[in-house]
């Protein structure tokens, strides 16, 4: 079967970039830790086995970049409480298993609650339109990229029986939090290319000025990620504190102005907790008052107290995910790891996601070293 030629999936070019990354790291002459803040970057790194191609001395840490993982317990509880009260809830497939205080939406669905899996907010609106006499709440997660889609739907006169339970989050503020974590070893950030198509790469300039670390905006094909890392390690070695755009085929400095206008017309930033990380000032996106009629939080009285009362004492307080994501701790430093916190019953973000550090360690007994033995 003829392989479709894909420019950004050319293993020969990838090997050249792997060599370049290895040389750049050698020139640096010491260990370095960098962080990406995007679930899609981790997916691509895992899917293409890139970790086995990274130099030993370079730690590429998965930061708080998976919107599903960082959806906090009370947000899941709100969706669970709505479903339990008989309100039809639609959400993305990977939100189903995210645990709340005592239950996930998957648990509620298995118990007979009306929970639909959709592929996007537009499909949720279609569902609402097709049964106009029944309320439908879309449990919306995702960063600014996905939030724009939600905003577009709300600006296009959605039906009266439709509303949004927003767990949308905004990435730039959490990068500040991670940089400021005491003991953080992160010397550079790989920023998410798709989010930057909306915000523009210019959004990272004040961040770089404040924290004195380089940021490289990178795309999601294997070559994009490798090229982004080469640039990042070079910047660390030079001591340059700049933003580089390594995804110029999609990202501009200003970003998508029309999308930004939609985003901020519908949402306003407010502080909120990210699971396993911290309270992130301006990290959550909440519907503006003008859209209160479509805000599930203002439309329904959501009783999450009963969920919390039935629940065992919160383990979340003991979770080390924040430190693990910051590269300060390893899963074995966490008392919950493998005991109270397992892939079937995850407590923290790193165990929820299939690509989370704890999940990978649990499955394979550590971070698997699959590096090819070098011939020379």
């Amino acid at each position: 079967m003829a392989e479709t030629p894909l420019h950004f999936r050319d293993p020969a070019r990838a090997h050249a970039l792997e060599e370049a990354l290895s040389h750049a790291t050698q020139r640096l002459g010491r260990r370095a830790s960098v962080m990406h803040v995007c679930g899609s970057h981790e997916q691509a790194i895992a899917r293409f086995g890139l970790r086995a191609a990274f130099p030993d001395e370079l730690d590429v840490i998965m930061g708080p970049g998976c919107p599903v993982c960082v959806t906090d317990v009370p947000e899941v509880d709100e969706a669970v409480a709505l479903a339990r009260a008989g309100v039809r809830v639609a959400t993305y497939g990977d939100m189903l298993r995210v645990p709340g205080t005592s239950r996930s939406l998957a648990d509620e669905r298995n118990a007979g609650a009306p929970v639909d899996v959709v592929y996007g907010v537009a499909q949720a609106v279609e569902l609402a339109r097709s049964s106009p006499d029944r309320d439908l709440v879309f449990f919306a997660s995702g960063f600014e990229t996905t939030a724009v889609a939600t905003a577009a739907v709300l600006l296009a006169d959605p039906p009266a029986n439709f509303s949004i339970l927003s767990a949308h989050k905004y990435i730039p503020p959490v990068m500040e939090i991670v940089s400021e974590m005491p003991g953080s070893k992160i010397e550079g950030f790989l920023a998410a290319g798709h989010a930057a198509t909306i915000t523009g790469w210019g959004v990272f300039e004040p961040f770089v000025a404040r924290h004195q670390v380089p940021v490289v905006v990178a795309g999601f094909e294997p070559l994009d990620i490798l090229a982004g890392l080469v640039k990042l390690v070079e910047r660390i070695a030079e001591g340059a504190r700049v933003v580089d755009n390594c995804f110029p085929r999609c990202v501009t400095k200003e970003g998508n102005r029309a999308a930004q206008a939609m985003l901020w017309r519908v949402f306003e930033p407010m502080g909120g907790r990210w699971r396993g990380i911290a309270h992130v000032p301006n990290g959550n996106l909440r519907l503006r008052d003008e859209f209160a009629g479509w805000d599930a939080r203002r439309r329904y009285t959501i009783d999450i107290a009963s969920l919390i009362e039935d629940a065992p004492p919160a383990l979340v307080a003991q979770c080390q995910c924040g430190d693990i994501m910051a590269g300060i701790a390893s899963p074995h430093d966490c008392a919950l790891f493998g005991a109270e916190c397992t892939p079937d019953a995850p407590v923290g973000a790193c165990m929820v996601s299939a690509e989370g550090t704890c999940r990978i360690w649990h499955q394979y007994g550590g971070h698997p070293d699959l590096r090819r033995k070098r011939a020379s």
Binding site: M1, E3, T4, R9, P11, A14, C38, G39, S40, Q43, A46, R47, F48, G49, L50, R51, A52, A53, G65, C66, P67, V68, Y92, G93, D94, M95, L96, R97, N110, V117, Y119, S141, G142, T146, P222, T342, P343, D344, A354, Q363, Y364, G365, P368, L370, R371, R372
Partner: protein, 347 residues
């Protein structure tokens, strides 16, 4: 390196993940179904969790297998639940080495209100698939349930056949090659794309087909050099390889670029965020063969209409016993197994 254990069966109720074909299901069988049952002296019993049982009968083996079939939608591009039921059972027999199915049984559990026309169509598919496989249904059973008690239709089929040599999935050695008989992911993505109502330019059709003719060719070309066979149905190629690696106590390295995947399947898989390696195939086999015979088996497979795209995709190693490494061409990763329902993801 300790072998990864099947998860302990700790839940008070059976949730969907116990039916997903992964570790949770193996735990359910090991800890609830198998104890005290299914011992077959000199043959293959329940505890082996192979594609079927092998009961010694003179100098041959009686191969026996059973399957229940539920699929939504009941009719999908490329087939329907009836064709699926016949092929699933015929293929399980073939994977054990019985390529001439003597007879099948079929039990139907039908929901009140099910359309007669649909049932007739499904039985025409059953007849057609039986003709293709050279077998027939010799006995059955019918139950009708109240509306809402089941979702449309459940079929259970069983099959028997004879084999002079039983092919297991536990006899691979380092150095053995692994062949897939054709493109991977067709059935799973056909069903998922239909459910997701993806409007694809090239619709994906299920690969559901009886494999006994194809396997017969492979066996006659490879003989005793064919040491393992498995049909990568639920859980896909990933689960099949994991089971083979675990039961044979070998490691497996999969060359991802050698795995044949149709362009439209690859595209739909990327769109849905689902790896083609973890979705079901209903007309494909994974064949483990001693290295020296790999080319002969491959040629025999490619000469058959169902085996045109057959390819060597992996090799058994003594590295990371019980695990499957995917060489992506860019790097290497460990192949995970599907756990629970396949859910499209946002990130």
């Amino acid at each position: 390196m300790t072998r990864p254990r099947n998860p302990a069966f700790v839940d008070d109720t059976i949730s969907l993940r116990y039916g997903a074909g992964g570790g949770a299901m193996r735990a359910l069988i090991e800890q609830i179904f198998a104890p005290g049952l299914g011992d077959v002296p000199g043959g293959v019993g329940l505890a082996a969790m192979d594609d079927g049982a092998a009961i010694p009968l003179g100098d041959r083996f009686l191969i026996l297998t059973t399957d229940s079939h539920v699929v939504q939608p009941i009719v999908f591009p490329g087939g329907d639940i009836g064709r699926l039921a016949v092929c699933g059972t015929v293929n399980d027999l073939a994977m054990m080495g019985a390529t001439e199915p003597l007879a099948l049984t079929c039990a139907a559990v039908i929901e009140d209100g099910f359309a007669k026309l649909t049932l007739e169509k499904i039985w025409w598919s059953i007849r057609e698939a039986c003709i293709e496989a050279g077998t027939t249904i010799v006995t059955g059973d019918t139950k009708v349930m109240r509306r809402g008690e089941i979702d449309g239709l459940i079929l259970n089929t069983a099959g028997v056949g004879l084999a002079s040599r039983v092919v297991r999935d536990c006899e691979l050695r380092p150095g053995d090659k692994l062949i897939v008989t054709g493109t991977i992911g067709d059935h799973g993505l056909a069903v998922l794309a239909t459910r997701a109502e993806l409007a694809l330019d090239t619709p994906i059709a299920s690969d559901v087909a009886p494999l006994n003719g194809l396997v017969r060719r492979a066996l006659s070309a490879g003989g005793e050099a064919i040491v393992a066979m498995k049909d990568p149905t639920r859980g896909g190629l990933a689960s099949a390889l994991h089971e083979m690696a675990d039961k044979s106590r070998v490691g497996i390295t999969l060359d991802e670029r050698a795995v044949p995947v149709r362009d439209e399947v690859r595209a739909a898989a990327e769109l849905l965020g689902i790896d083609p390696l973890i979705v079901a195939n209903e007309g494909k086999a994974v064949i483990g063969v001693r290295a020296a015979a790999a080319d002969a088996v491959l040629d025999a497979l490619r000469a058959h209409p169902l085996g045109r795209a057959a390819a060597v995709v992996g090799v058994c190693t003594d590295e990371r016993i019980g695990q499957v490494i995917v060489d992506t061409g860019f790097g290497r990763r460990l192949l995970g197994e599907a756990d629970g329902e396949l859910l499209p993801r946002i990130c």
